[in-house]
């Protein structure tokens, strides 16, 4: 593929997903400048691997590269987050009565929600962001996060439960102060 043609078709296929790429990188790195660097690097990587892309789901393909680049970046910067490995087999105590938490969510404002999502462990944050913000299917999330389909579902469930717990904690402190 001659250089200019490759560049043109790459830009057509992959550049439209820049916002999705930035959104994911921003939520994973939790820093504006880092997210920009990660996205730029991911785009260069994507361009180099573009020969192996055959026009499937461009967004999922790109986000997979963004995710890997983010993890590499965090490794390079020794992010302590990477050392907290999740065990998908353990189950937190189920609370069947989620009613009070549902109420708390209604009280939570956007700022509080943002903060709560940022507080989620990395593995929970990425599936939640891909599902709720990018509105990806479980199958797409499985591709991007390199997870089995069943794990996507259980992780997402745990991510939401954790998010509700964090929000409950925040709203309670707010009430007390």
């Amino acid at each position: 593929m001659p250089g200019q043609n490759k560049l043109a078709s790459f830009e057509t296929a992959v550049l439209p997903h820049l916002d999705a790429a930035y959104n994911l990188a921003r939520w994973l790195t939790r820093n504006d400048a880092d997210a920009e660097d990660v996205v730029q690097e991911a785009y260069l990587r994507a361009f180099r691997f573009f020969g192996g892309f055959h026009g499937e789901d461009g967004r999922a393909w790109l986000l997979g590269i963004v995710r890997n680049t983010s993890y590499t970046w965090m490794q390079r910067n020794r992010s302590p987050e990477l050392n907290m490995a999740l065990d998908d087999e353990t189950h937190e105590p189920e609370s069947h009565d989620l009613n009070p938490e549902a109420l708390l969510v209604q009280k939570a404002d956007a700022q509080m929600l943002r903060q709560a999502v940022e507080e989620l462990p990395l593995e929970f944050r990425e599936v939640l962001v891909l599902r709720e913000l990018d509105e990806m299917s479980y199958k797409q999330i499985a591709v991007v996060a390199d997870l089995p389909l069943g794990t996507v579902m259980s992780r997402l469930a745990r991510a939401r439960r954790r998010l509700q717990q964090i929000l409950a904690g925040h709203t309670q402190t707010e009430v007390l102060s």
Binding site: P2, G3, Q4, K6, L7, F10, E11, L15, L18, D19, A21, Y22, N23, R26, W27, D32, A35, E36, V39, Q40, Y43, L44, F47, R48, E94, H96, D97, L98, N99, E101, A102, V105, Q106, A108, D109, A110, L113, R114, V117, R131, E132, L133, S137, Y138, M153, L156, A157, R160, L163, Q164
Partner: protein, 255 residues
């Protein structure tokens, strides 16, 4: 469907990822169970709260510019790499080959020169042996007088070989003769050391070929070879190396 199973599937249900049969079961269970219905409402509330909070982080405009220009650079360098990699490959290979051959020739050249000397040395030994086989072969002009021998070469050679008698040093001059060596006519002088004969061959060479003394031994004969003042000298004898060397020194000093 039990509460536990419903709780398990409720996320897939909220996300629209549940198959039809289970979807119906979950919906039926929620009609009968308030707790699970609340759990479902809690999830939808969370989902809509996340949606309404505009958590989506759009890329700043400058990032797109930055990426576009870095992609152009990358595309250019890829093209450059490819051009260098393929179009210039034969050129690079040819150049490497030429350099290799040059190196090989350069390395082999002293060897070639040496093998040239080898051939001459062989010729000289043969010539020396033949000159001693018959007394009549030993010299065309028999004289111990350098002033007789030297003019004898006049008109027979296109150069004037230096001729000296070293009788006082124990190497009397016997005479001279013409020889044909190394594809040219050369001067051969014959000397004696007690019972040993010494042949000294002289012919002009390219000035740049000046070189030090080289000693070799062939078929029991000692050979000495050197070049000076535009003449190349070969001397050969069954005389021992030390005395032959002494003789060579006399010749060299007389020049």
């Amino acid at each position: 469907m039990s509460c536990q199973t419903t709780q398990e599937f409720i996320h897939a249900y909220v996300d629209g990822e549940l198959d039809l049969a289970r979807t119906l079961e979950v919906e039926q269970h929620m009609q009968e169970c308030q707790a699970c219905a609340n759990a479902y409402r809690s999830q939808t509330a969370l989902r809509s709260a996340l949606k309404e909070s505009s958590l989506y982080q759009s890329a700043p405009a400058r990032l797109e510019k930055r990426i576009r220009s870095s992609l152009r650079r990358e595309a250019k360098s890829e093209v450059g790499r490819r051009l260098f990699g393929w179009r210039w490959l034969p050129v690079g290979v040819s150049l490497a080959f030429v350099l290799l051959m040059a190196f090989v020739i350069w390395r082999a050249a002293p060897g070639l020169r040496r093998s040239g000397d080898e051939i001459v040395a062989q010729e000289i030994v043969s010539n020396h042996v033949r000159s001693l086989q018959l007394e009549s072969h030993r010299a065309d002009v028999i004289s111990s007088d350098q002033h007789t021998v030297k003019p004898w070469f006049d008109g027979k050679l296109d150069f004037a070989p230096p001729v000296r008698d070293f009788a006082s040093q124990g190497f009397p001059l016997i005479g001279g003769r013409l020889e044909y060596l190394d594809n040219r006519s050369v001067a051969a002088l014959i000397y004696q050391r007690q019972k040993h004969y010494i042949n000294l061959y002289i012919w002009p060479v390219d000035q740049s070929n000046a070189g030090g003394e080289i000693a070799t031994k062939r078929q029991g004969y000692n050979l000495l070879h050197w070049t000076s003042s535009g003449m190349t000298y070969w001397t050969v004898s069954d005389l021992n190396g030390v005395e032959l060397h002494e003789f060579a020194r006399l010749v060299q000093e007389a020049q």
